[in-house]
Symmetry: C2
């Protein structure tokens, strides 16, 4: 048995949204990729707004679980941050894709309030995680020239998201690397 239809739809929608934005794909696109009729999608997600909520919720959960894993398997602040940077880089492929949070934030007006709330919650948790990692790195001495962890965290998230946008604009992952190289040097 393959994965259930709902999961297949979420997978397809997430890939499309990260590549083309929430307005860049239609139920017709999902229908073709998943192999059902577009009307059937409404059984799982009555409206596209519902779909965007479910998509973003799943994304946030998955990503925050990933952050826990990084903590569990990396001892220093610098090591944790480097792994996270790698995850953001993986997300862009060859400059054709974005983290779902970045992809959806750009077209905020096409989203229902509930989806925006999930995005806000996700961002807040990411900043907390980053703040803890920068704080740890300052304590354990793994970060050069450490500054205030809270400020570093906010700057880091924007840098990661902006770098993804840069890679997309250039359609080249090297733009991401260029934007991150200065920070990576501080991480050792």
């Amino acid at each position: 048995m393959g994965k259930d239809t709902r999961t297949a739809l979420l997978d397809s929608a997430e890939r499309a949204a990260r590549a083309k934005g929430i307005d860049g794909f239609s139920y017709a696109d999902l229908a073709e990729e998943v192999g059902i009729r577009k009307a059937s999608i409404h059984y799982h997600f009555p409206t596209k707004a519902d779909l965007s909520v479910a998509m973003m919720q799943r994304y946030a959960e998955t990503f925050l679980t990933l952050c826990k894993d990084i903590e569990a398997t990396n001892a220093t602040g610098a090591a944790r941050l480097l792994v996270l940077i790698g995850k953001y880089r993986d997300a862009i492929g060859n400059g054709r894709s974005l983290c779902l949070c970045v992809a959806l934030s750009g077209t905020r007006d096409s989203l229902p309030p509930e989806t925006i709330n999930v995005i806000r919650g996700f961002r807040a948790q990411m900043i907390d995680w980053l703040r803890d990692s920068f704080a740890l790195g300052r304590q354990d001495g793994s970060i050069h020239n450490p500054a205030d962890p809270r400020e570093e965290a906010a700057a880091c998230l924007s840098l990661l998201e902006g770098a993804q946008l840069a890679a997309r604009a250039e359609e080249n992952a090297a733009a991401f690397d260029g934007a991150l190289s200065a920070l990576k040097k501080r991480l050792g």
Copy 2:
């Protein structure tokens, strides 16, 4: 006499694109705001692709002229960078708007190749300008903990663009300030 129709259309389109993305407004929206019929817009911009090119070209010219002005009126690297940061902050309003480059990069797939080229050129010139400013700041001692100017420039552009995205996600300009505070401290 008011401004000519073409300029009014570009103004309206730019505002809409920065607030809602290139797919977030229609010729009908422009028609209503400018006060002509939507069919008439096609006389000035036959297709929406043509409009996106003209819009981004004008934006790039205006912004790069602004950068020249900043050079002419600010002596140190840090001072120049601080003024530029202020311009990016002004662009977001109350978290409802983005720099046109950020707004369009997010939905790359909806743009013709020509517009993408203009975006690429604009980004390249911005990075050059930033690199020169960071290099100057290193020479004149106005930047704390200076690193390689080329790397700083790439990081700075991504940080500025990512911070705009953050402000939009939170619909709050404070998110921009939070992301920039660490850098601003280095600029004195």
